[in-house]
């Protein structure tokens, strides 16, 4: 009985933790962007402006839940739910601490890749159901970008799998006891990081929602709660990618002195800051530049990394 209670506690803890971190990030990102741009950002509501999150939530949830009359209603409503569900479901396989792991799947990594591919449906359906040319252009771009970046996202992780000899996330973390995989798998890390940026559609890969060209891309027609799903979904995605990077390349919960949970969250925070820093610093490339960068540079790099890792693992063992 207590086992089930703990399991339920872990499930809800991870779920609410993920959403809470994502909600907090909406404030954190604006504060940090403010600092990078030599201004303050939201600093009025509550201490340091943290209650800005509450204010934004109240505002966005009391907005009119508008569905455009020309939209495909069923798909229009389902699309934002898909992105939330698929990104939140990915948290199930992330080993946050030795005791905090919702499901120790044997194929945890594949499950994560499957779920992140699932998110493409959300973007594609949102643009299609909106029945609006900017939305459709945005979702065409999003699908093209995400499908091509999916390819080497998976490939870049195979080096890690080869070295750990397992798809299970817990095994991968435990295999990094001696040395974090960022050292032998540095190329894999860089490729995965770039692919993760593209998966979350963040600047510099925010071409699907390029506001200077496409209004807001695939979520142009969305407002209120459904827009909040996309908006928070993006931040949940960033949290997820940061946690995946930490788990796969930076030793997960492992670290001296501090408890495992603290180590994991600290490392995650560092990558979230890096995501925000990149947003503050880098411009957006052209769409063809983005695709040729993916197919002509990142994909061969991922393949090369995989081949070399495979050769070394074959020659000398793990």
């Amino acid at each position: 009985m207590s086992g089930i209670a703990i399991a339920i506690l872990v499930i809800f803890g991870v779920l609410f933790g993920a959403v809470l971190i994502a909600a907090g990030m909406t404030w954190f990102e604006r504060r940090l962007l403010g600092a990078f741009q030599e201004r303050y950002g939201p600093n009025r509501a509550g201490p340091f402006g943290v209650l800005q999150v509450v204010a934004d939530m109240l505002k966005i949830f009391t907005k009119e839940n508008w569905i455009a009359p020309f939209a495909d209603k069923a798909l229009f409503v389902i699309a934002p739910a898909i992105i939330m569900i698929s990104t939140l479901a990915s948290f199930a396989v992330i080993p946050i601490a030795p005791a905090i792991l919702v499901s120790d799947l044997d194929i945890g990594l594949l499950y994560f890749l499957a779920m992140s591919s699932f998110a493409v449906y959300s973007v594609a359906l949102a643009g299609w159901a909106s029945n609006n040319k900017y939305s459709l252009l945005g979702s065409i771009r999003a699908v093209g970008q995400m499908v091509s970046y999916e390819v080497f996202m998976g490939l870049s992780l195979m080096g890690v799998v080869l070295q750990a000899g397992s798809f299970s996330m817990r095994d991968i973390v435990e295999a990094q006891h001696g040395m974090w995989y960022v050292v032998p798998q540095f190329v894999g890390f860089v490729v995965f990081f770039v692919a993760g940026l593209a998966e979350t559609r963040r600047i510099p890969f925010d071409i699907p929602e390029a506001e200077s060209e496409l209004v807001a891309g695939y979520h142009t027609e969305y407002s209120g709660f459904k827009f909040a799903m996309f908006y928070i979904g993006e931040y949940v995605g960033i949290t997820l990618i940061s946690m995946m990077i930490v788990t796969l390349f930076f030793g997960g919960w492992q670290g001296p002195f501090l408890p495992p949970l603290v180590w994991f969250l600290l490392k995650t925070l560092a990558f979230i800051v890096l995501f925000i820093l990149i947003r503050a610093a880098l411009p957006r490339p052209r769409y063809d530049q983005l695709l040729s960068f993916g197919w002509k540079l990142m994909l061969p790099l991922a393949l090369l990394n995989l081949a070399v890792t495979g050769g070394i693992v074959l020659a000398v063992g793990k």
């Binding site: 600092a35 990078f36 030599e38 201004r39 303050y40 820093l277 990149i278 503050a280 610093a281 880098l282």
Partner: protein, 171 residues
């Protein structure tokens, strides 16, 4: 690739710089004396209204936010019977101040004029009049002009010669 890393570094360093924001309600910037803010009507050093109701400000105003009506008081001076500025229209361009021949209408360094009710932005003469002389301390229009009013005959103004008798042949 190296340039991207450099860009990231430069951006990161900017987080340590002093912030350019002035936290407004707590801290206010020092405004220059010639700041174009709330419009006032000033008085001359004797405490009389400077405005002579010449309508120049009203006709110079590009958004027609100044309304007034001229009248003549018991001393024979021109005065506005009413003087109304609609600040919900005013664009604070300062053309009224430039047009004013008597330095009566002036713009001040005050911008905190927000109201909940739009009608409260219509200022009447008693709202606009201040007790001081504004930016031109010593100036009194009737003391330097040849205009005759009660208590001041022609030729009694500053730097003014007595009027010549046009019917006399004497120099």
């Amino acid at each position: 690739m190296l340039s991207i890393l450099k860009t990231l570094w430069v951006t990161l360093v900017h987080a340590l710089h002093r912030r350019a924001t002035v936290l407004y309600p707590e801290r206010k910037r020092r405004l220059p004396a010639r700041w174009r803010g709330r419009i006032v009507l000033t008085r001359d050093p004797d405490g009389e209204e400077r405005c002579v109701a010449c309508y120049l400000c009203s006709s110079a105003c590009p958004v027609s936010c100044i309304a007034l009506q001229a009248g003549i008081d018991e001393k024979g001076r021109r005065r506005p019977e009413f003087f109304r500025i609609n600040f919900s229209r005013c664009i604070y361009c300062g053309l009224c101040e430039e047009a004013c021949p008597t330095f009566a209408i002036q713009l001040t360094p005050d911008y905190e004029m927000a109201e909940y009710d739009r009608a409260n932005l219509v200022y009447e003469k008693e709202d606009l009049l201040i007790s001081g002389t504004g930016k031109q301390p010593g100036y009194n229009f009737y003391r330097v002009s040849g205009m005759e009013i009660s208590g001041k005959k022609k030729g009694e103004a500053e730097n003014e010669r007595p009027p010549s008798d046009v019917r006399s042949l004497l120099p």
